[in-house]
């Protein structure tokens, strides 16, 4: 009964956040421009343009436009793209697999490399390897994504010719999902954008693991374990790392939302046909239905992830349950 109350209040808050997201994004559209100019031919007449503006409902006050948008969205209709006259839901469904596969690869890469490197830095903080990794991580965290992407392309595609410079390669359709995991060219294509997207995340996880490990290693139970003469391998990986990983898992989960948002730049550099590229094109065309749907989707994702995390916390920790209710 108590749990249900927490759940309901959480969902209520989530709905409110979504409403705010939609209103703010709608207000923003006033500043990204007006699609009529890009939708008209070069020598369109004044009447033609006015008619187009009217038929899109853009001559109405913003409040009316927003009201119509809300009503439509609540009835499950995200509208039709101005740019290519296809249903927005269909466009997003087409692009979702590309973005999610990229995010999965980036997450796996950042965990697979970030955790061991973090452990290394924590165990031998003054070793040469640790210092090198620390220095490189500074580069990783401060280099803009598009620079990393272009450098990787120049090295691995142009100079060495090992990997493709853009696109998803050959994809296999499994129902509505298209995957690059099942072909050699698909897997090769995932590498460079995956690394580019993972880099920031990787350094974040590495630094987090390092800090947590150092923290845990100086705690009492580790010292007692050492005093008992347990093997250091057992202490480091079974006892210390396990405890250090709790916050890493939380952060990784929360970061999935930002990875999807960060993917915009990576997708543009690598012509990755995902949602980020769709959004960038919608912005340059002032394709309002697509922009609105994308922002709603990303907003929804953040809200969902955070809500799930909050609820899980409440399940795990009774103290939080009381506070959030």
């Amino acid at each position: 009964m108590h749990m249900l109350k927490v759940l309901l209040s959480r969902l209520g808050q989530a709905a409110l956040v979504m409403l705010v997201v939609s209103a703010v994004s709608f207000l923003m559209f006033r500043f990204v421009g007006d699609p009529v100019a890009t939708m008209s031919r070069e020598n369109a007449t004044v009447e033609e343009k006015a008619e187009l503006r009217r038929s899109l409902g853009l001559d109405q006050p913003v409040v009316v436009q927003y009201g119509r948008f809300l009503a439509r969205t609540l009835s499950g209709d995200l509208g039709i793209s101005y740019r290519n006259q296809r249903p927005v839901t269909q466009l997003i469904a087409e692009r979702l697999p590309a973005t999610l596969e990229l995010v999965i690869v980036a997450t796996v890469l950042s965990l697979a490399l970030g955790i061991p490197l973090g452990v290394l830095c924590a165990l031998k903080p003054n070793g040469i390897a640790a210092r090198l990794v620390q220095a490189l991580s500074l580069v990783g965290i401060s280099t803009p994504t598009f620079v990393t992407g272009i450098v990787l392309i120049l090295v691995f595609a142009v100079s060495l010719g090992w990997l493709p410079s853009f696109g998803r390669g050959q994809v296999v359709d499994l129902g509505w999902w298209s995957t690059g995991f099942l072909t050699a060219s698909g897997l090769k294509s995932l590498l460079l954008p995956g690394i580019t997207l993972a880099l920031y995340q990787l350094t974040l996880i590495m630094r987090l693991v390092r800090a947590e490990m150092i923290d845990v290693l100086s705690s009492d139970y580790i010292r007692f374990a050492k005093a008992r003469g347990l093997p250091s391998r057992y202490i480091h990986f079974r006892l210390a790392l396990r405890n250090a990983l709790m916050p890493v898992i939380t952060v990784t989960g929360l970061q999935i939302g930002s990875l999807i948002a960060f993917a915009i730049v990576t997708e543009t550099v690598f012509q990755w046909p995902g949602m980020g590229l769709l959004f960038i094109q919608a912005v340059s065309f002032a394709d309002i239905p697509v922009m609105a749907a994308y922002l709603l989707f990303v907003g929804l994702l953040f809200v969902l992830i955070n809500t799930v995390v909050d609820i899980l916390y409440a399940v795990v920790d009774p103290r939080l349950r009381a506070r959030s209710a």
Partner: protein, 522 residues
Amino acid sequence: MKARHVATLSVAFGALMGLAAEAKTLRWSSPTDLTTLDPYAHTESFTTSMLHHVFDPLVRRGRNLELEPALAVSWKTVKPDTWRFELRKNVKFHNGNPFTADDVVASITRLLDPGARARGNIATVLKAEKVDDYTVDIVTNGPYPLLLNDLAGVYIMDKEWMEANGALKPGNIATGVTTAASTSAVGTGPFKVESYKPDAGTTFVVNPDWWDKPQHNLTRIEFKPVKSDATRVAALLSGELDLIAPAPLQDLQRIGSSSGFKVIEEPSLRLIMLTLSAKPELKAMPGQKNPMLDVKVRQAMWHAIDFETIKKRVMRDKSRNTGTLVAPPVPGYSKDNDQPLGYDQDKAKKLLAEAGYPNGFKTKLNCPNDRYINDEQTCVAIASMWTKVGIQTELQTESRATYFPRQDRGEFDVSMVGWATLPPMDGFSVLSSLLTAQKDGYGGSNSSGYTNPQIEELTRKAAVELDEEKRRSMLVEALKVARDTVAFIPIHQQPVAWAVRDGVDVPQFPDEYVRLWFANVK
């Protein structure tokens, strides 16, 4: 019967050649993608050029951009407002359906539907009527000299296919109707669409039953859009692409010096110019008389710009400076008009003083920063040149998505415009859209408020003049008035620059269309 013989022969020939006939694939890229496969649902010249590989119009542009027969073999005007077209026989759509007059009527009717985005492309057409299976009449609203120009952009769709797929009417954003034509295309053209994946790629395969004799040797076209300039160039250099169009100006030298690649370039039809406000006052100087109303001031502004420097420094010597508002291949162009006023700071200052502005005046200059080649840098140069002669110029640049709506609303004092006269490819488009008052369908993009009674009269006369020689001389005369009164300051003609790997032979066209039915690869 004859066609069947040819077909049998070619099959036999193909079998003989057997091993020699290998697959020729052209892989190419551009920053934009096809927005849709529905030829009537967009107004972009890039998508139009792509779909030309799949569809044929009644008349098309040939190797020198001249109008030539395509699905129509001949035409004549039976009345001043009625054109009769004789259609090509034995033409088949990609699905095997024969091409007849019914397809033309259904296509024109579909394009005339109020929901069709490209409806304005045939704004003067009233209807198409079938005379017999291979004869069609097209009726215009009064005499209309540019019908063929307009029809060169009207691709003929298959009536049976449209009926079967519920696409007889075009999609409509306002009512939320979408059709199968957005994602599948059945035409009569030299290539068939094999797959269409937005942002990932579109693949075409050769149509062996095309009615025309192919001048290309391709069996397959793989088009992959790449938005990022740096990535597109890298993909060419790494051997993943055979052609990129356009190639970014800043990379031309690097591509040209890489072995195995070359840059091909020529001037495009697109002219870049500045509009000068003809309104009572400037936004930069509210409450005072607009100095630009005086022709001497407008001449001074022209004299003050050093176009050679812009060409060398900003355009890397790839542009062509111009004195008129249309490019040389376009009807209405004349060499006499194409004389820039010439860079002369002293003369500019003198003219300003004569006009009563010895200390200059203030103005704003607005430019897009993502629409034309090096648009922002060009405007930065112009602003500093004007400031040198005393015209204090406040420059503002912004993205096309916000720039053009503001220009349309007439919010600018001086602003940049590019005009390619497409799709009609005729000087009339400059006159009727930019140089005439916003009235009766004229002046659609005239944001500065410029008008001139002589140009108004000549434009309206040219609109209905069917004698081509007379019509062209009217265009030339009107554009002379525009130059003499400095209606606009023309800056330059943009270059079209592409890059290819060695062994790829693709002709370039000033309208920037990529026409791969003229492409040959080794």
